[in-house]
Subunit: 112 residues, 2 copies
Amino acid sequence: MKQARHPEPEEMTLIGVMGALGDPIRVGLLRVLSDGRERGWGELRAPVAKSTLSHHLRVLRDAGITRTRQEGTRCYVELRRSELDARFPGLLDAVLNAAAAEDVGDQVGLTA
Amino acid sequence: MKQARHPEPEEMTLIGVMGALGDPIRVGLLRVLSDGRERGWGELRAPVAKSTLSHHLRVLRDAGITRTRQEGTRCYVELRRSELDARFPGLLDAVLNAAAAEDVGDQVGLTA
DNA sequence: CCTAATGTTCGATGTTCGTAGAACATCGAA
DNA sequence: TTCGATGTTCTACGAACATCGAACATTAGG
């Protein structure tokens, strides 16, 4: 596990973010993280293989949507809310509200 | 040219809209239409073949973002602003603002 | 050390997407 | 009716994507 790279706010692109949030699993992950709490990888529940989950988390990270931190062999994920809000004002809230209304990504959740 | 189908507001999905707006050409078209004016197909300028432009307009239409009207052999495109705003509050404005700030889709424009 | 736990990466597969050109359908005008 | 303009649809193709299982790397614990 090499240290993951996180884009600076200036490196984030609208197309990148829109593309990243064009998948139900990733929107589900976004919703899970939307309370601002950092979550452990193992807490995340999604109906995909772990390699696929790893892929989705990478897409989110590469788009600048999340930040990943390592601690020992564990990983912790967190929404980059303030940076996103500064870079794309209103976008995150609009997506989260719409996602909640439609219940997009409801298959994604936390460990019971 | 058969009559194109337009989704009802309830049929629009967040994922559909996010996916449709994950392409620079389509965001460019959105920006061109963002003043609310109806535009003729021929007015639109984009660095792609006409079949490709037709495809992109179809994607936008299928997602519920635009409305296409036919008049004789001409087509007119229009942004479904109020319906989108009602269905996805704040989303369109957030995307348009971010797109303007980044100048996404600047290759798309109107006939000089 | 050896082992278990935790993610990442790799290889493979099937799907979707963006793109273009060619053929087609429709309509207005000559 | 014939022709030209205007979009749409068909077909094709390479790139990108979502997905999985297997192999791998790293670290904690015994």
